[in-house]
């Protein structure tokens, strides 16, 4: 830095630094803090009253349906994470090791597109495909199988979660697999290590961080999603996100919805923290 920047910083540097700070403080940090505060408000005569009372927390945590929703949401998100990671891995493996650099770049190009393309409409499309007399059951009927109930089942929900997370997880896994030093894999082969054994003892440990980051994103997205469990899972039972929507939209019980939301954020923070420390544990 040739000239002494300290003399002139102020206007130039501040111009670039402040916009994000101001905007994300006013419309990201403050709303989230306000949500925590809101969870301690009171509702009297169907009106919210500012206050500081733990009654919403006590009432929500005493309700059976809250814990049913909590365990169900957590369990489904965990299931989705395991299923997505396992299904994504062979694809990421093929993209990283079996395809040329150009083909890999194109594959990622096409996987990025759906990530930014209306998730809602894609779920609607699945609703049509999975219906009792939909395309999949009609196709199965041709070979004499079915009809199966696919909609309003856990399977439906998981298909929805896969639609949301699979492209992203494949991309993250591919990026981490592609950055593995090929010499290490070569060495394993030369030393007589079988193909599968190489995958599990060499490739997976080397790509651990990337695989875990992919899994964490999958968990976060599935845990917070309300579209798949509602439209493909039939909201039986409702997940935490659906609980938030029902509680918010049906009246002035926003403080209770805030309790659910804060519990969700706390859970996600714990999960992300546990996963990240697991990712970096042995490496230090």
């Amino acid at each position: 830095m040739a000239a002494d920047p300290r003399v002139r910083i102020n206007w130039f540097a501040a111009t670039w630094r402040l916009p994000m700070l101001v905007w994300q403080f006013l419309f990201f940090v403050v709303p989230l803090l306000f949500l925590v505060y809101l969870s301690f408000w009171l509702v009297r005569n169907y009106r919210m009253v500012p206050g500081f009372d733990t009654v919403n927390w006590v009432k929500m945590f005493a309700k059976g349906y809250f814990w049913d929703a909590y365990y169900f949401t957590f369990g489904m998100a965990l299931l989705a994470t395991v299923v997505t990671s396992c299904l994504a891995f062979p694809c990421a493996y093929a993209l990283s090791f079996k395809l040329s650099e150009t083909a890999r770049r194109w594959a990622i190009f096409f996987l990025i597109i759906p990530f930014f393309t209306s998730y809602l409409v894609r779920i609607y499309a699945w609703q049509v495909l999975l219906a009792e007399n939909g395309v999949i059951n009609a196709a199965l009927a041709v070979i004499g199988a079915g009809p199966y109930a696919l909609l309003n089942t856990k399977l439906g929900t998981v298909i929805g979660y896969l639609t949301l997370t699979l492209p992203l997880v494949v991309i993250l896994q591919t990026l981490s697999l592609a950055s593995i030093d090929r010499n290490l894999i070569e060495a394993a082969h030369n030393l007589g290590c079988g193909r599968l054994r190489t995958v599990f003892t060499v490739i997976v440990p080397l790509a651990k961080v990337g695989l875990i980051i992919g899994a964490v994103f999958c968990f976060i997205l599935s845990f917070g999603d309300f579209v798949s469990p509602y439209y493909l899972g039939g909201s039986k039972p409702p997940t935490l996100s659906i609980l938030i929507i029902d509680t918010t939209k049906s009246g002035q019980q926003w403080p209770r919805a805030a309790v659910v939301a804060v519990t969700m954020i706390a859970t996600l923070l714990l999960v992300a923290f546990a996963a990240v420390s697991a990712a970096y544990r042995k490496r230090a």
């Binding site: 040739a2 540097a13 111009t15 670039w16 630094r17 402040l18 916009p19 994000m20 700070l21 905007w23 994300q24 419309f27 990201f28 940090v29 403050v30 709303p31 989230l32 306000f34 949500l35 062979p90 694809c91 493996y93 093929a94 079996k98 190009f109 096409f110 996987l111 990025i112 597109i113 759906p114 930014f116 393309t117 209306s118 998730y119 809602l120 409409v121 609607y124 499309a125 049509v128 219906a131 007399n133 395309v135 059951n137 009609a138 196709a139 896969l162 639609t163 699979l166 492209p167 976060i220 917070g224 938030i244 929507i245 926003w254 805030a258 939301a261 969700m264 954020i265 996600l268 992300a272």
Partner: protein, 267 residues
Amino acid sequence: MSSERAIAWFLRAYVGLVFCFVFAPIVSSFIFSFNSDRFPTIPLGEFTLHWYETIYNDPDVWDALRVSVISAVSVSLIATFIGFCTAYTDYRYRFFGKNAYLALALLPPTIPLVIMGLAMLAWLSRIGMSGHLYSIMIAHVVLCTPFAMAVIRLRLAQMDPSLEAAAWNLGAGEWRTMREVILPFTAPAIVSALCLTAAVSFDEFAVAWFVSGLNKTIPVIILEVLQGQVDPQINAIGTFVFITSMTLVVIAQVLLMTRQRKGVPGG
């Protein structure tokens, strides 16, 4: 060797299967949008433009389109501006608390959208700003800025750091260097960020649903129709939405790819 080939063949088929799964809903929406059956299945019914005519003649859809386009355009402009500022700050400066600064810049997409929606609704109603068109814009800028920042930061990483210093040494001030060196260099990424953030805003339904009040966007209309019955109109609206956002995302990516080709030999 034959097992080697069998595995390679299997892996290729598997990649094909994954892509089929990922694109099946997009393709099926497209096909069913021209299909006459009310409950689409195979074999297909007759070819029709009926669903497109229905949405074309629906004033609600046009209102929603207006809201969506206004918010997507303004969100992309604001978010890209803020994203550029943040990316440049990260590229150029080191300062106390920079990690926290970057965390703040990149965290919003990791918060579940329903929670963002509730927090935004609660806060914006508290300060009397909920239920307007600008409420959607405010919330979407929060969600879109990280994408703009990431795209522009990638481009800045490819710039030769001595370029800026050279401009200063030749007597250009910081503002002039910004205008004549940094901005032209990052231009493709800026356009790319504009497209990407417009696509994110155009598709976002959860937060918009919470804060929009009566100003419904296209995805909010879709959400509300979905709560009723299966309605093939959605395939027609959906095909339109898919084509819009796919076009934006493809443009965004192509701009980033040409950047790589030009960037590598120079940097």
